[in-house]
Amino acid sequence: MELSMNQRERTVPTSRWLPWHAIVVFAFLYLPIVTLIVYSFNGSGVGGFPPRDLTLNWYRQLFADDAIWTSVLNSLLVAFAAMAISLAFGIPAALALDRANFPGKALFRRLVLLPLILPGIITGLSLLMLFQAGNVKLSLLTIVLGHGTALISVATTEVFAGLQKLDRTQEEASLDLGANYWQTFWRVTLPNLRLSIIGAALLIFTLSMDEIAVSFFLIGRDNTLPLEIWGRLRRGITPEINAISTIIFIFSLAAIVTWYRLRAKAEPELIL
């Protein structure tokens, strides 16, 4: 990495403003998050610059706040359930797209992507209408179903990409060595898709965790975390929200780093 950078500097003339440009972009991206984190430790609340008297008070207050933690629990529940649903439907769909030939395959391939492109408001509204037509009472379950269906496309596209990279002769080798089709799927195909599936799962999990639009339509009595935060914001920003956001940020960072490590281990050549 170091070496190739040096070589590039020698061969391609670069502007000396480029590093400054990079810093500005990074500042633009990360300054809001840094502000959020800093103010979660600010003794005098969200007002006042520069932040004075650092404190952990907001965190203490946060940990005592049952409503927030119930919503966090609800969000986790929804995210895991949505992950299970979308993977359970998405993986077979990807296999069908990769292996089977059926009429309307090209159309199916495009339609599967639709929920990803469709604005959440439309998805949410249409699901709400469907549930009301079916007389289904809104609850966490309806949110799970909403997230699950909307995110099937993520699972399908990720796993389909993984299948396209898979070396099919490995499956033939497995059959050749006496494993039947089912054994081959479990012992060869699935392990080869491990990265794609973990990637899809992480992506679905994060998308579900911060989803607002669809949830907004399908919410029953139990709040998810984003809706809880949104609800509180209407009553004004409190540093408590900064605190929970900071915690979420740290967990997201950990997830990204884990994913990156896994990938680097499996496919070192893909990592810069």
Binding site: D167, T169, Q170, E172, A173, S174, L175, D176, L177, G178, A179, N180, Q183, R187, V188, P191, N192, R194
Partner: protein, 378 residues
């Protein structure tokens, strides 16, 4: 570094037949009967009939696109023949799924499982067969020992070289004690030195384990070195099936003669048992009419002493020479303009006019091959 196997550690050479009745040694292990294959309108194989004997090393030789890999895939069970049937030990093989055939394959790019270690790769077939762990462990160890890869058992395939992966692929197939081993150009990814070494090792390994090998290659030299018999495939049809010596010395067609080794193709007229090609004439068993003959460059010698009459003697001018190490390939022109290749001892500057001769018997009558001839292979 030689591959080695002992009879007790690898294949039981004479396993009792599962049916109880021992098949007679004369019946072939594998019997391919009138197999044809087409993909849509594209005919890949036509009317292939071929037998493989117990313990035989048979090479399917052909250019790319000749259908050799398709034939291998049909035997392995990855493709279904469009027509015809395949029997193994007298029983239908082609109706079984690949995982029920006692046939194992060494794939061109080895197809090792990247998520498994070397030892896990080798033990894969035994694990899916649900053998006791103790037996799996011993057999994997023996197979790794056979290919001299014991030291790498805990390593993932990505960490070892192509030649080593090749050995693992071989061990992974042979550990299952197949009745037939299929090899799909397994040496083509190796560099020339390693390839020559592996040719010798593979051949001696096959002798020791006594399993029939069907080896697919486009390399005629490889086929000559390793095979008991060569089946030359051309555009989906069998051109000739014979031992390397016979196929080289008595090629049946112009294509065979040109594909395997260098040759001079002489097209002439036969009259009263004598073939005439421009100013050259020699005795032949062919009937009157047009005739095509293959005359190997090494069968044309520099003439010394008095003509014996048994040999055809002529004078030619040396045009150019190509150095081949131990020998030179000379291009000569006869007085009437006929161009011939001859093989001569290696010497720095061949030039001038020379007296040459060949025996009538060495001009082998061959069947004309329609459509274009392949480019001369080296």
């Amino acid at each position: 570094m030689a591959l080695r196997a002992t009879r007790d550690n690898l294949a039981t050479v004479s396993e009792p037949a599962t049916t109880g009745a021992t098949p007679s040694s004369a019946s072939p292990l594998l019997d391919i009967r009138n197999v044809a294959k087409s993909f849509g309108k594209n005919v890949v194989l036509r009317n292939i009939s071929l037998q493989v004997a117990e313990g035989e090393f048979l090479t399917i030789l052909g250019e790319s696109g000749s259908g050799k890999t398709t034939l291998l895939r049909i035997i392995a069970g990855f493709e279904a023949a469009s027509s015809g049937e395949i029997l193994m030990g007298g029983e239908r093989l082609d109706r079984l799924p690949p995982y029920q055939r006692r046939v194992n394959t060494v794939f061109q790019h080895y197809a090792l499982f990247p998520h498994l270690t070397v030892a896990e790769n080798v033990g894969y077939g035994l694990r899916v067969a649900k053998l006791p762990p103790q037996e799996i462990a011993t057999r994997v160890e023996q197979a790794l020992d056979m290919v001299k890869m014991t030291a790498y058992s805990a390593v993932k395939p990505a960490k070892i070289s192509g030649g080593q992966q090749q050995r693992i692929a071989l061990a992974r197939a042979l550990v299952n004690r197949p009745r037939l081993l299929l090899l799909d150009e397994p040496l083509s990814a190796l560099d020339a030195n390693l390839r020559r070494q592996m040719q010798v090792e593979l051949k001696s390994l096959q002798r020791e384990v006594g399993i029939s090998f069907v080896f697919v290659t486009h390399d005629q030299e490889e086929a000559m070195v390793m095979s008991d018999r060569i089946a030359l495939l051309r555009m989906g049809e069998l051109e000739q099936v014979a031992s390397p010596r016979e196929i080289y010395n008595r090629p049946a067609s112009a294509y065979t003669a040109q594909f395997i080794g260098h040759t001079n193709l002489l097209s002439g007229e036969v009259k009263d048992g004598v073939a005439h090609c421009q100013s050259l004439s020699w005795r032949t068993g062919l009937r009157d009419g047009p005739g095509l003959f293959s005359l190997r460059p090494e069968n044309i010698r520099l003439a010394t002493g008095v003509s014996t009459g048994a040999a055809v003697r002529f004078r030619a001018k040396i045009l150019r020479q190509a150095f081949h190490g131990a020998t030179e390939l000379l291009q000569v022109e006869c007085a009437d303009g006929l161009l011939l290749s001859i093989r001569a001892a290696s010497r720095d500057n061949w030039s001038g006019d020379v007296d040459l001769e060949f025996s009538s018997a060495d001009a082998v009558p061959v069947r004309a091959s329609e459509i274009q001839q392949p480019q001369g292979k080296d």
